[in-house]
Structure formats: C-alpha cells, structure tokens
Amino acid sequence: MNNYLKTIGLEVHLELKSKNKIFSSSINGFGSSANTLINEIDLGYPGVLPIMNEEVINLGIKAAIILNCKINKKMHFDRKNYFYPDLPKGYQITQSRTPIGYDGYVEIERDGEVKRIEISDIHLEEDTAKSTHRQNESLLDFNRAGVPLLEIVTKACIDDPIDAKLYLEKLKELMLYADISDCKMEEGSMRCDANISVRKKEQDKLNEKIEIKNIGSISNVVLALEQCAKEQIEMYENNESIRAQTRRFDDKLNKTVLMRYKETVNDYRYFPEPDIPYVYLDDERIESIKKDIPLLPDELRRIYHEKGLNDISSNKLINNLSLSKFFNSFLDEEIDLVTASNLLLGDIASYLNKLEITIADTKLTKDKFISLVNKVSDNSLTSRNVKDILEDVLEKDLSLEEIIKEKGIANITDSNELSDLVDQVISANEASVTDYLNGHDRALKYLMGQIMKASQGKANPAMVNKILIEKLQLKKKNN
C-alpha cells in the first residue's frame, strides 16, 4: 500500500443564496411544494430567453475574491448540450471558456503546517430539475431548475484524503461566512464529486482516474477516497488495468460501485451562449464587493486570540455561524469578551441546542447582552444567578434589570452586612483561619464557601472575597 501515491481532485457545486434564480425571476428557494417556484423560462418553453441576475454575478465575484482567484473581467456564458429529462432546454447554461474566477487557492493547516490547495477555476451555471425515480416512472420538480450554482474545481493537486477533508471544511467555512451559500450537504446546497488515481512511487505519469459522484458528507469523502484508492491498488497488484469510469460510494457497504465507463468522452458541444451578451466586470464593482466581505474565519481566529479567547473557544465560536456573528457585533465594545464568549458557548448555546433554535430566534438584544456580560464580569451576578435568569433573558422582552428584580435576585452588596457575615464565619472556623495563616491557601476557598452558604448564596462573591482577605491579612499582621 505504501508504495503507491494518490492524486486527488475535487469538484464542489454550491447553490448560491440569491433571492431569485440565475436566469429568471422565479424565487430561489428550498423546501416548497414541487413545481411551484417556476415559470416558462425555468421550464425551457419555446421562445423564452434568459435574463441575467446581477446578484448571482456579485456572489460569484465575492467567491472569486475569497478563493484568491483571478477574475475574468470580460466573461461570457456557454451552452453545454446534452439530453436528460431534468435538463429542460436540452442544454445547461454554464461557463466554459471564461469562468468568473481562475487560478486561485485555499490554505489549509495540518499539524501546524500551512498548505495551499490550488483551484483551477470557479464558474457560474444553472442547476437542473430534481428527479425522483419510482418503480417505472420518474417525477420531475423544476423548482431547482435554474437555481444558481457555483462550481469550484481544484487542480489534481491533493495527495491525501485528509487534506481533501480539510479543504472541504475550509471551503464550507469560507462560503458560509461570506454568505455565499448555505453549504448544507444534506439539502444538496453543497455537493461534492471527487476523482482519484493511484500510481507507484517510482512512476511519473498519472494513471487513469476514477470519478466518485455526489458523495453525501465530508467524512464520507475521506472514506470514499481511501476505499477507492484501496480498490485501485488491489487491481494494479493483480495486474489488472483500470478504465476511466464514474463510481458512487456506498457508505453502508463501504465500497464504491460502478455507474458507467467513460471511454467515449462525453461530447457536450460547448459553444458561446448567443442569448447572453458579454458581461463586463469593472474594478469599481469588484472593489465595492471586496469592501463588503465580512470578517472571515482566519481573520476572526486572529482577533479572538488577540482578545484573549483560547483556541478551543475560538474554534467553537467559528463552528457556530450565528453565535459567531452575534459575538462579532461586540468586538468593538468595551466589554469582557472572554466572559461574553463563555456565556455564549456555555449556558446560551445549550439552551439554543435544546430548543434547536438560533440566537436570532431569541429576545436577546445587544444591550441586554452587554448588561449581562458586565454584571457577570464584575461579579454582581453569580453563575448560579445566570442559570436562574437565563430563560427569562432569552424569552422575555424585559430588560436585564427588570428580570433581576422580577426574579428576586438580590445580591447582598451592603458592606456592613457582609462584614458581619465574614466576622461570624471567621470566629466559627478558627482552625481554618489558622491553616490559612500558616500558608494553606485552600482554607480561603473553604471559608468563602462557608460565607456564601451562610448568606444562602446571596452574598456578592467578589465583595466577600475582598473583605475576607482584608480581615485575614489584618489578623496575620496582628499575630
């Protein structure tokens, strides 16, 4: 096995998050009843012509910038001709000669080492209808026909399935953060085809490759590539030759299954789409799109680190787009961001997960969150207080102060009262006090606990801590 090198290339299709379809005014949506988001253009009726959705072009430019691509400033569309029931016009409008972006790359990090995955081109095209096959009939849903797609093609530059996985995760993160696509593999808004060939280490020339179509998840991409490589190596070891072919990955059986051989190269009869004139992308347009690109994960990681978040918190936040977006709106505020991230990733995240909602579905406003963070960081609210009020904070339209009042969370902040409390505990626990004075720091924690207990949890811990230490220091001095 180790005598062989793998050569992998990936093709990713992303459905773009535009309001309308790429070449018609129909709504671009997922989950509606079949054949309700359609018009004559989507159905390829006689005499209809495509219109051009500028929003889709802008999303394409944004993706090109993020993927470090060069941009074709004079681009056109091409027709890819073939017959299939899900292809209403008998051709797909795509980009062949002048993809919107080319010669780009994505950086992945593996074991502290940064690697570039090279992208040969990214191009815009229309999606096909969705077919569902039943026994001896096929059903077609044209809601998907004309949904804008961005196809992202890497060079055959990947030599390890794990790198393929890291690339896909990074790509997904970028496209999600830039609001280009939902990237939901389970809904088909992100689809992945992979191709792989293997060859002996001493051999320079690449062998015939096998394409694996429509792999269902990123983790399956690794499994499928590993398995397909294994199958190919076995064949070469048995002196069998490999024909160019398309296979699919069966994850239950963990093996790849032949779909078709590709000896006769598909003749798609590409030619420039005469119904769409050249599209000219000027620098002004590109620059204005560049300016509007939100903070992307790598930049966010750097900022989070600067603000004192640890790597685990950073990554947790970045893996949760809506929490991260919410968090990012406080980056310029004068609040304790570590406390903020702990609150978001702790109690708030578990509340959201339990109800399967996002932060946007709650009543948590920016102001309310700032008060919450401030009250926790100056210790006016204990973590138990937070647990007690969180549901109300997220579900009610009230301000934090109103909720605290309503819940009867009254911290003892009167220093005389606290002083008395501390004195009582000190005189009742002389042994612990002695321990502390002899240098056993653990005793302090015990004393704190006793004071909080005596106050039924209502004492303000920060103040108690301060008063306790003052009093103990005084004792030390007097000794």
Partner: protein, 482 residues
C-alpha cells in the same frame, strides 16, 4: 363584399375615427377574404377571438393609426391562448401561456390578431415547402412558391387578406418572400426588436420584423414593435419615429453597391431592372459607387455553420416531456427522445439538426463555429467600414424570381443559395428592407436597401422615394375580383 382593406392606413383610420366603419367591419372583411382564399397562407385563423376583440374595440376611442387594424402573426411568434406551431407537427398541440413581447406591443396599439401564418417548419426553408401544414401558393401565380420562411405572411399581404404582418428573418425569411410576392419587408437591426417569444432558430441571427403593402405602413408597424425589453438581454434601447424621413429628397445621398450584388449568378431580368433603378437614383441626384465587402462570397457556408450550430442546440428542448408532440409506445427515455424527434420533426429540420450537431462536436466547434464567428466579425467590420463613406448600400434581394412549386426539392443547398443576397445582412446584424421594383414574366422583383446599424429611418426614406417614383401596381388580383 366590402373593400375597406384595399384602402391605405390613413384612409382606414379616418373612416374609423369618423365612425363610418367599425373595427368589426374590418375584421369581418379580413376573415371573409381569408376564408375565400386558396393560398394556404394561414395555419390558424382566430375567427372568434378576433371578432370578440373587434367588438370590444368598437366602443373604444381610436387613439392611433394602427387601432383596430387586422394583423397576421407568423406562427413561430408565441401568442397566449392561440396555438403556436412553428409550422411543425412537433408543436401542433402547443397552446402558449404567454405572449411574445411584440404581441404585447401590438395589443397595446389595439391591433387585432386575425390568425397565425404558414411558414417553413421552424423557419427552416425559403419556399414554404417544409411546412407540416403544406406549401403556400404565390398570389401572382399559384404554381409558384411564395418564398420563405415567412411565405404565409408575404402571400397574405400581397393578396390583400390583411394589411400588416409580423415575420421573422434569420437569413432572409422576411425579405426573400417579400421580393417573391411584391410586398415590403424589413429586417431590423439585430437587437431592435425583442426576440422574447420568437421560437428560436439561430439566436445570434433571428430578428422579428414588419411585412406590409408599402414603405410608410412598414415604418409605422416598426414604430409599434420597437421597445427595449427586460426579457431579452440582446435588445437595445430605442425610441424614434421611423417615418420621420419619409418624403425627403434624396439629392446628395451616397449609395454603395457591393459588387457581389451584381454578379452573374443573378438573373438578367433582375439585374436589368436593378440597373434601371440605379440610373433613376443617379438622375435624381444620388451618387453611386461599387464596393467590395470582405468575405461576402463566403456568407452561405458561414451562415450554415452558425445558423445550424445554434439551431441544433435551440431545438433540443423539443423532447416530448413538457409540451408538444410526444411519441407513444415507448420503452425508455432514449426511446422517447428518438421516436418523438424522429416523428415530430420534418426532414429538413432533422437534416439541419444533424449537420449543426456535427459542426459543434468535439474539435469541430473550433474548426467551424468559432472560426465562423471570427470571419463573420471581419465581414461585419468591412460592412461598417463602408458606412463611413456611404449612407446606404443597395442590391437585388434575390437571384431569381419565384420558381415552381416542387422544383429542386432534392437539393438541400437550394434553400441556402436562395438567400445568398440576404444572408450577409443577418451575419452583419444590419437593417435591410426589400421592396418591389418591377416584374419579370409577371412575377415581382425585389431590391434590397441595407443601412448601418440603427439606421432604419434612412432606409425608409430611400425606399419610399423609389416606391413613389415607380408607382407600381402591386395588387396580384388585377381586375379579376372587380
């Protein structure tokens, strides 16, 4: 039988305005004429719809010159709720749910669609003999072809069934039948008229245009159908009165004649008549020169490559799945495609799809299509260059007059060679008009006036001048119907 439809548009308009006649009178007369005609000019006659529309209009104020006028629409222009066949069995059952942009525009003018006219199948042909609905006869001699592909239009305008028609021109499909039938037909600048709703033949060449009895009425109809459309990315911004130069003197006009247009492939009678016009123009103060256009002699093969390549793709949508003809007794999806397209398309259409598919296959797309686009561009530039020195170019529209029905049916190149003088105009995206200039053996001869892009108004100026000077009797009915 009334004869309001023999009057010119201004006379009809006066009668309507004075309420001496009603729209219903015009529509009834048109229907009667069509029903009594044996030219096979119509595929669908919209009798009930037209009469209903006419009755609605009878109570309305006459607000423009085209108000209430019957119009025929070539059957490759989509009309809502009116069967639209493109002359093919493939669409014999197709009832569109939408209107072409031009149909919306003529509806805005309150014109009355009287019916859908016969045509070569999917506009592929130049004699109207490839129609699934049978050939159209030439009103001047019923043993002759009317030309094509807008043959039904030319025949019905010529024989005065209706005064206005909308056709389409990919390589000469408006101008060549206009020449054969003695009518006026204009192919506008590519992009002038929205193609939305025109069933595509060759997208980079197709253009809808007006077909009429005379030059003024042609300009009037062009006024009505020119408007930038949000539905067609190739449509251009346009707002002008195309009749505005009609009646002006032509003294000092500089006119070029491409040498290709006086070569010996053209019938002597046609050349002689054309030379008479040239003399007339010189006599009236125009200057005439002979010019060379690069690659113009290669226009037929260039056209075949571009038009058939595009057609093979445009006609792929007719697969029997969503609309149109679907073969019965099929085993699987490939069988559905194979049988539907074998049975639904006629021979000429299938031949063109096959040739076009071949031309786009594999390496061929570079060898043929992409090279043809480059040469076409060079030809266009050569044309544009001439317009630096000349106001207009002129030449005959066709190499022959109308020929016998059923002649040369075995020669697949015949229909392309018929268009050898009209194709260069489509290749260069220019506007051009054919108008009658005389007769050869009682069959009309047409000449072509070619303008620079967007210069239709100047074409109309010269056309109307010639028309007035010649004052030909262009009614094929002669004294027969008197």
């Amino acid at each position: 039988m009334s004869k309001y439809l023999d009057l010119n548009i201004k006379e009809i308009n006066e009668l309507l305005k004075k309420k001496e006649i009603k729209v219903s009178d015009l529509v009834k007369e048109a229907i009667e004429r069509i029903e009594n005609s044996d030219l096979n000019a119509f595929i669908t006659l919209c009798k009930e719809e037209a009469l209903k529309k006419a009755e609605e209009l009878d109570d309305k104020e006459v607000d423009n010159l085209l108000f209430g006028i019957p119009i025929a629409i070539k059957d490759n222009i989509v009309t809502k709720n009116i069967k639209t066949t493109a002359g093919s069995l493939m669409l014999n059952n197709f009832n569109p749910t939408y209107n072409a942009d031009v149909v919306e525009l003529i509806n805005e003018k309150n014109m009355v669609i009287i019916g859908k006219t016969n045509m070569d199948e999917f506009a592929m042909g130049s004699s109207n003999q490839t129609s699934y609905f049978g050939p159209v006869k030439n009103p001047w001699n019923k043993t002759k072809v009317p030309g094509g592909s807008s043959g039904g239009n030319a025949a019905c305008i010529s024989s005065r069934l209706v005064p206005f028609a909308l056709g389409s021109d990919t390589g000469g499909s408006i101008r060549q039948p206009s020449a054969f039938c003695g009518t006026v037909g204009l192919k506008p600048t590519y992009g002038r008229v929205s193609r939305y709703g025109l069933i595509a033949f060759a997208s980079s060449l197709d253009q809808i245009g007006p077909m009429t009895r005379n030059v003024y009425e042609n300009a009037l109809l062009l006024n009505a159908i020119c408007k930038k459309s949000k539905n067609d990315l190739t449509s251009s911004d346009t707002n002008e009165d195309f009749t505005r130069l009609i009646g002006e003197d032509i003294k000092g006009m500089k006119i070029g004649i491409p040498k290709f247009y006086i070569s010996d492939v053209i019938d002597k009678d046609i050349l002689d008549k054309f030379k008479e016009i040239v003399s007339l123009l010189e006599e009236k103060g125009a200057t005439i020169d002979y010019v060379d256009i690069d690659y113009i002699d290669k226009c037929v093969p260039l056209y075949q490559i571009i038009a058939l390549g595009e057609a093979s793709s445009n006609l792929a949508r007719f697969d029997g799945i969503r609309y149109g003809y679907a073969a019965k007794d099929i085993d699987n999806i490939d069988d559905l495609y194979y049988k539907t397209r074998s049975q639904g398309f006629g021979e000429e259409v299938k031949r063109r799809i096959m040739v076009g598919s071949y031309l786009l296959s594999g390496e061929n797309v570079d060898v043929y299509y992409n090279n043809a686009l480059r040469i076409r561009n060079a030809m266009r530039n050569s044309f544009l260059d001439k317009f630096n020195s000349y106001d207009l170019l002129i030449g005959p529209t066709t190499t022959t007059v109308a020929y016998d029905l059923n002649s040369d049916l075995d020669d697949p190149n015949k229909s392309f060679m018929d268009d050898v003088l009209t194709i260069p105009v489509n290749m260069a995206g220019l506007p051009a008009m054919s108008l009658p200039i005389g007769f050869s053996n009682d069959l009309p001869i047409g000449m072509q006036i070619i303008g620079k892009p967007e210069d239709e108004a100047l074409i109309y100026k010269l056309g109307s001048f010639i028309e007035k000077e010649l004052s030909l009797d262009l009614d094929p009915r002669g004294d027969k119907d008197e």
